[in-house]
């Protein structure tokens, strides 16, 4: 699992059937690389989150048929830039 920060919402109206109506968020890692993660929790921009990758991401999405490779698993209570980069 990795630590990401939520950047913003992502809206895709026309989408793959197996993405269902799941919320998507743009997240960034400590180097500023952007990725898109499925969000079953409701994280807000600026939140530090734990993201789950590979096949576990589909299970974390609540249904193994959901086509995702990155899912937000939890919102981190206490985290800051210094710990992120250090």
């Amino acid at each position: 699992m990795q630590i990401h920060r939520v950047v913003r919402d992502l809206v895709t109206t026309k989408r793959n059937f197996w993405l269902a109506s799941k919320s998507l968020r743009v997240v960034e890692d400590h180097r500023g690389n952007l990725e898109v993660a499925l969000d079953p929790i409701g994280a807000k921009p600026g939140d530090f989150v734990v993201t789950i990758g590979v096949s576990a991401a589909r299970i974390a999405a609540g249904n193994p048929k959901i086509t995702t490779d990155l899912t937000i698993g939890g919102i981190i209570d206490h985290w800051d830039e210094a710990r992120w980069h250090g």
């Binding site: 699992m1 990795q2 630590i3 890692d29 400590h30 079953p40 929790i41 734990v50 789950i52 990758g53 590979v54 096949s55 576990a56 991401a57 299970i59 974390a60 609540g62 899912t71 937000i72 698993g73 939890g74 919102i75 981190i76 209570d77 206490h78 985290w79 710990r83 992120w84």
Partner: protein
């Protein structure tokens, strides 16, 4: 499997139900600067060198095929000498080999 050093626990109160109340640890993989988060079914302390499995084996290692983990700690390394990058001698043997420690 990856060799990682434990940095500390990670508190995430708002989490998906599938993660249950398992302990999450911030770990640093050997030779890299990035931090990762691993599920800890073993019970590690900060500073411990551990081995962690990734991909779908991480789900099994966390206890069940339905557990959503992509990195799970499977063992604490008894002796690890990071300077040389390979498993070090047991602490007792090191003490014996060091002349200054001899009685």
């Amino acid at each position: 499997m990856k060799i990682c050093q434990v940095e500390g626990t990670l508190v995430a109160t708002a989490r998906i139900g599938g993660l249950q109340n398992r302990r999450l640890l911030v770990v640093k993989e050997r030779g890299t600067s990035g931090k990762q988060v691993a599920v800890d079914p073993v019970g590690c302390k900060p500073g411990d060198w551990v081995i962690a499995v990734g991909s779908s084996a991480a789900r099994d290692a966390a206890g069940s095929k339905d557990y959503p983990s992509d990195l799970t700690i499977v063992g604490i390394i008894d002796y690890w000498d990071d300077a040389s990058g390979h498993a070090g001698a047991p602490a007792r043997a090191r003490a014996d080999a060091d002349p200054s420690r001899r009685a």
